[in-house]
Symmetry: D3
Subunit: 103 residues, 6 copies
Amino acid sequence: MNEKILTRGNLGIKRFFNLDTQVYNDGALPGKTKELLGLVASLVLRCDDCVTYHIIQCVEQNVTDPEFFEVLNIGLVVGGSITIPHLRHAVEMLEECRKKAKS
Amino acid sequence: MNEKILTRGNLGIKRFFNLDTQVYNDGALPGKTKELLGLVASLVLRCDDCVTYHIIQCVEQNVTDPEFFEVLNIGLVVGGSITIPHLRHAVEMLEECRKKAKS
Amino acid sequence: MNEKILTRGNLGIKRFFNLDTQVYNDGALPGKTKELLGLVASLVLRCDDCVTYHIIQCVEQNVTDPEFFEVLNIGLVVGGSITIPHLRHAVEMLEECRKKAKS
Amino acid sequence: MNEKILTRGNLGIKRFFNLDTQVYNDGALPGKTKELLGLVASLVLRCDDCVTYHIIQCVEQNVTDPEFFEVLNIGLVVGGSITIPHLRHAVEMLEECRKKAKS
Amino acid sequence: MNEKILTRGNLGIKRFFNLDTQVYNDGALPGKTKELLGLVASLVLRCDDCVTYHIIQCVEQNVTDPEFFEVLNIGLVVGGSITIPHLRHAVEMLEECRKKAKS
Amino acid sequence: MNEKILTRGNLGIKRFFNLDTQVYNDGALPGKTKELLGLVASLVLRCDDCVTYHIIQCVEQNVTDPEFFEVLNIGLVVGGSITIPHLRHAVEMLEECRKKAKS
């Protein structure tokens, strides 16, 4: 679907997608930290698709389970009980990623 | 004001304040990373008072300017132009903290 | 899923879940009023899972249909037309609960 | 300012303002409960002006301090630490109202 | 479902639904512009059902693809990357509407 | 302040600011319509600084008072009573702009 948007969308949309990709690259902060930042922002803004995306990236960056749960805990305290359904979604996605890695 | 809330507020409120303090302590992730998580969450949720709080904590954790601007950049891309007034607030607070540190 | 989170999650997450359970208990305000507060908060924050949860609790607290619709009306006026899909969800859940109670 | 809006604004805006006034009147639920619903909704949506308005109305409806803090506690748990600046605002407004009542 | 709400809901809810219908009628601004306003508001508030509704209305008002993508671009820049899942939804809905129109 | 951010901020932030400026330029839709879109998005997201910015741009684009109030009405219905303080702010800004234009 993103490809469709990039084919049909205008120049401004394409440039935004570029910014969105580049912002998580290694820089003064390592890519791993940036993916954690993307994850907590997605959680407090309650966007399941964005949570899924950053969970996958975080797993690739070798984020451990205790690290994950500390990020989720911060999101939960900052964003409140209203984030709980998205916390559940995050934990499900994490389990799925761990299973795939084992198989 | 927080003290007033803690004096007059009920047990549930006090316990929440405790959780809120503890969640940024060193753990699997260092306190510095956690403060960056708190900062980006505050920025995308557009809370100036929370941004101020986490800027001060980040400065104490020796976050550098390039690191700060990378966090703010992620907040800006995730949260959109609607976060710009809070980005401005963050940069003002950062400047104030840097000036105080010099004097 | 909540159990999984409670098993695998850290202490901070567990404590938050405790606070979240206790906050709706009878106190200076009766549990019924607190569930109505939880429902209106869930509606204006547009969280379907949370709306479902509080509808079920409200039905157990013997909230009547006219009371329900007054709460939903407040949520609608405060939160605007953007809450309408969640209002629809609330009414569907309510009908389901009423049917179950009859059977 | 509201008067200016009502004078200059169009019919749709005026009708909305009417709905907004009527929704908190006594009905199946008493006005007091409705003001508590308005307060918690304002807190989780983080609107200081709306919090102020409903605190004043709640004080007129004889809401007690323990009742107030239970409502604020629910708002805090549902909306997270991001609501704390608005919780502080609520407690300040409450103190002001109590002082005025005494004098 | 809306009919059910209108049958069972109270007078305040019905009046709100009326306001919601009338606000997009031709006036000082043409209906087409108003539907575009409804679309961008739905996108930045991230409500897929509302996006669907306004896409359908916009197609009926003969909004062209370049016009659509300019509105979506504004929503994306204002609301940030968190709106991307809803942008994808909007483009899918648009494609579906275009296909139906051809058949 | 924006200049400071542009001087000190990183490349990603500068590029975002560019996108944010360009997105309101004349295109398939006229600049005037785009400013109205920016205004309604700012209102429903409840950002006073953004509302001020777009009111000024709209006045320059010769938006009339009846047009303004129709946009504000849409924002009010979509975003609910929680937008009222920002609606008040918008009307104040509009009055100020009209006065300046006369003097």
